[in-house]
Assembly symmetry: D2
Homo-oligomer: 320 residues x 4
């Protein structure tokens, strides 16, 4: 990894180029803006997760930010699948974004005036309670993203009077915001990842995460447990697991897993080696700092020291 302040992103000559699941002003762009230096870099919206990753794979962008969990504007399944096949990629960091919605209206309007409101359907679902209580008579018009709704509000022909969107885009466009924090779940956050081509790994921080994709070696009771035992016997906790059907044929699966720890931790390295034996098609997607900085609890018997002691003990047996 370069020593620059660009948080693990490869330093290409000239300006850094980032892409993200667009359009401009989405929560995904808000995630990207948390990456140090991204506010000064080139930021290109992509129409899909696939096209964002393609820009990285083809060298048209240094890195991409895409959703990995609970995204308001979708794309999670697409991310899981797109990083699991094709040219290898690496996750450099994860980014947590608070999900807060604002209601922006055309100049001069008030709540009681709103007849039509637009936003992404997921965002609408997350503001339904507020909407029923505050704008019960407003009709809903779907938009392809919260940002698209915000932009549409500036278009006299768009046909709606209000947009539910992220604070970022509202302030950037200078919209007239008349309600804030209108989401039904307080303190909601969602998670994004920064993806690049393989390069030097981010340094371990003691509060790291490792992401892997593991094809199920055999479809029978217990096969998943045999995979997970490789984590549990090394005391490695999992923070995410998802089975995904492999492409066209429902019935074959792979697992997308986030594990606590860094591949340079002996317990994680040992677990990965065990997984490689049972499922050699395993794909390593990176070791990177946790956004919440929560340090892994490492039982003494899975510390690097315990691994080193075991190695020495075994060597002593064979040397006689």
């Amino acid at each position: 990894m370069s020593g620059s302040g660009s948080a693990g992103t490869p330093r290409l000559p000239g300006t850094m180029v980032y892409t993200y699941l667009g359009p401009e002003g989405t929560f995904t762009e808000a995630a990207l803006l948390q990456v140090p230096g991204a506010d000064q870099a080139v930021r290109i919206p992509s129409a899909s997760v696939s096209s964002a990753l393609e820009k990285v794979r083809s060298g048209h962008a240094n890195a991409a930010v895409v959703p990995i969990e609970n995204s308001v504007e979708g794309g999670v399944s697409a991310t899981l699948d797109a990083i699991s096949v094709g040219q290898p990629l690496r996750i450099l960091r994860e980014i947590l974004v608070p999900i807060t919605f604002v209601l922006a209206v055309r100049p001069g309007m008030e709540l009681a005036d709103i007849r039509r409101v637009s936003t992404h359907s997921h965002a609408w679902a997350q503001c339904r309670d507020w909407a029923e209580q505050n704008i019960p008579h407003a009709e809903y018009l779907p938009a392809s993203s919260t940002a698209a709704a915000a932009v549409g509000l500036q278009d006299p022909e768009s046909g709606f009077d209000a947009a539910i969107c992220a604070p970022l885009v509202a302030s950037r466009l200078g919209l007239n915001v008349i309600a804030r924090d209108i989401g039904d779940v307080a303190d909601a956050v969602t998670r994004f990842i920064l993806i690049s081509l393989p390069g030097l790994l981010p340094e371990p921080t003691g509060a790291d995460k490792t992401t892997v994709v593991i094809p199920l070696p055999e479809d029978r009771p217990g096969a998943l447990m045999e995979i997970l035992e490789h984590f549990s016997t090394r005391g490695v906790n999992l923070s995410r697991i998802e089975s995904r059907p492999t492409g066209a044929f429902l019935g074959d699966y792979f697992f997308s897993i986030d594990a606590d720890g860094h591949v340079s931790d002996a317990r994680v390295a040992d677990a990965l080696k065990g997984l490689h034996r049972v499922s050699p098609g395993l794909r390593f997607l990176g070791s990177y700092p946790r956004a919440d900085h929560r340090r892994a609890e490492v039982p003494p018997h899975t510390s690097d020291e315990a691994f080193e002691a075991a190695d020495q003990w075994l060597a002593s047996l064979i040397d006689g």
Copy 2:
């Protein structure tokens, strides 16, 4: 379950009312149309998974069809979360839909004429290879669904010349289709579920699936394995597992799991009882026929007969 042809859906007085993740003409409506009798029933599109389920909970619809896997138009995470909390619901069946895309154009247009094409961003991602080879110069305009793009094609003001959509909506609207099967993955299918209020369970067929939601009792290495052991020790195979963060606080998890078999199978019942002990907040979401009719392989030691024999043996010990 009623004896009607309505496939496990409670028979309410009068006409059946179904809702689904809309708008009309999406793959989700195509899924609904596989439900026997649905073509004669009332079908109401919902703007979100949440609102679809709300119609069921409030009695405004008898049942809802929503995506559970790999949906072209999103909603999977929303479904997983929405059925896991709130008023209990039950899955009555799963429905597989082949994902095939068509290209519809304004009357008289040919491939070479297309300057702008619209569809849902996930659908666009799945047709990118075809698009690059066949309409490389076409600009992409996102739509909130494939059906919305199709409908927009009929609007002279929509600003695009072509839409990528499902065959269903194209034929229903009488659109001019100039290319078929343009998806990059051959034989792609996706999975939807039919959801209702709790009632009689669908009868076991020998090729069933049981869906449960299990809060992680304790966040430490091995806790997930202890959950999964309850399936593997009863020889119950899993076909889907996903961890989901519980609401606002990232770090607490529940698992959404599909297991082979029906709760009236002794091995499934026994596994569920074991899970209830370690995680009493467990939620049972239904036992229902598999769409692919693949029968579970039941090892002799997990057959109903083996459970019955074990019960009798144990009773004989205590009776002396």
Copy 3:
């Protein structure tokens, strides 16, 4: 179990008859004398574990005491094997005996006079340190039991001057004891079991043990774990496990296991039912009070209440 004071032993008409691994005066007889009423009962020594159990099976004795762990005078393997095959038997209680050795000599002798000392070879092994320091020049003559050595000391022709034996036999024979507690391990104890024909089970006390014999269903990595999972998934701790080859052919195995708890505890019953499914040749050898009265720690999720709650929950699912 009868209400008599005979500790779980079936009350036959007339006097109770016990047998034990003899001869008289061994640690096994000392174990028998801990059984309430045994001092007033008929006590018949048997020449082997097999013959002791045969007396029980044929009705010539109501119960037998035989060693199950660490016996000074052998017989443990014989016990494990003999109770695992043939006509079913039941363990009614376990008995702990402190292993303390005394040195008895011919009248008038002192340590320095001893030229030859006799005892069972296992007892000799356990007093070697003392012997080397206190009677370094004494020659060792093996005896078939510690009691046989004690008896031989009274025979002028036996050819030895001293015997290492149990305090019981020394006091019973009125021998001249010149050293006590000469074993090399302080506080050593060993374990015996009281065996009878199947009848009413001893009542659960909260500090019980259950013994089972489980044929290995399949000889491959993981088969033993699948057996043990049935205990661990029910929170049942094991206090003893031994693999034993099955008869003539080395390579097939059964496991002899002591588990904490009583078959009338729901968690133990459930584990046994699970084991019966995977290994229907399982043999139940009894549930009986622990000699050390140590109560099992029962996690809440494996309490009888948790099992009852799970049963009710499952019934509610199926009732709809």
Copy 4:
């Protein structure tokens, strides 16, 4: 290991000295005589397993043969315990001995004349069926070993007319054998081990066994399974497991385990390293050829090649 023909035994200057659980003529000596060169070596009987091992530890013998399973003349528990503590020892090979008994009588006697028969109590137990049918009126006199009974037959004062013993001692003493193969179990065999001080390990043969002693790290449900997972996750089968109480205090345990494979096999080495982490007091007792030459079945994913491939894969991740 030395290149001599002495089967893995350290070559000391001069003649090899072996000891064994005596007296002369037991099955244990028969086991020793299977060791190449042992018939030309010095063979010293020991009165107990402990004293045999002490001769090895003190350098008075190069190696010892002691019983490890099902021995007719006892000593198995003593062996398990004695090799598990104190100065480290190593198992160099295992030896299988067919257990066949003969009946030797004083010159001129026939079956019908026998009034008293002597042998070790375990041997008597194994010939009871034959005895009841053929010498039903004979009284049994215990001996400290089958060989002691055989020797006693030559003593006019011993008080018995017949001895049940091993063919070895009968032919060596030139006894008058009138019945052969009188054991109740056909084809019985038992297992002995050859023990020495640590030195070079026997070479792997592809049909090897590794013996370890593992203190239970924590006494709770699942702790044993965590130990065994280290074997099963590496595809290592176990052929023997025994829990043993640790010394004076019943309730703390260690496990004595035989695993298939040699410590120079990657899967065995990896399992041992895993065990060392959870239970650093682990004791390695040797890797040595199986007496039955049965080769381990090694699934591809636990082959040395799979381990090597996993090591290389992991190194490639970290190198970037």
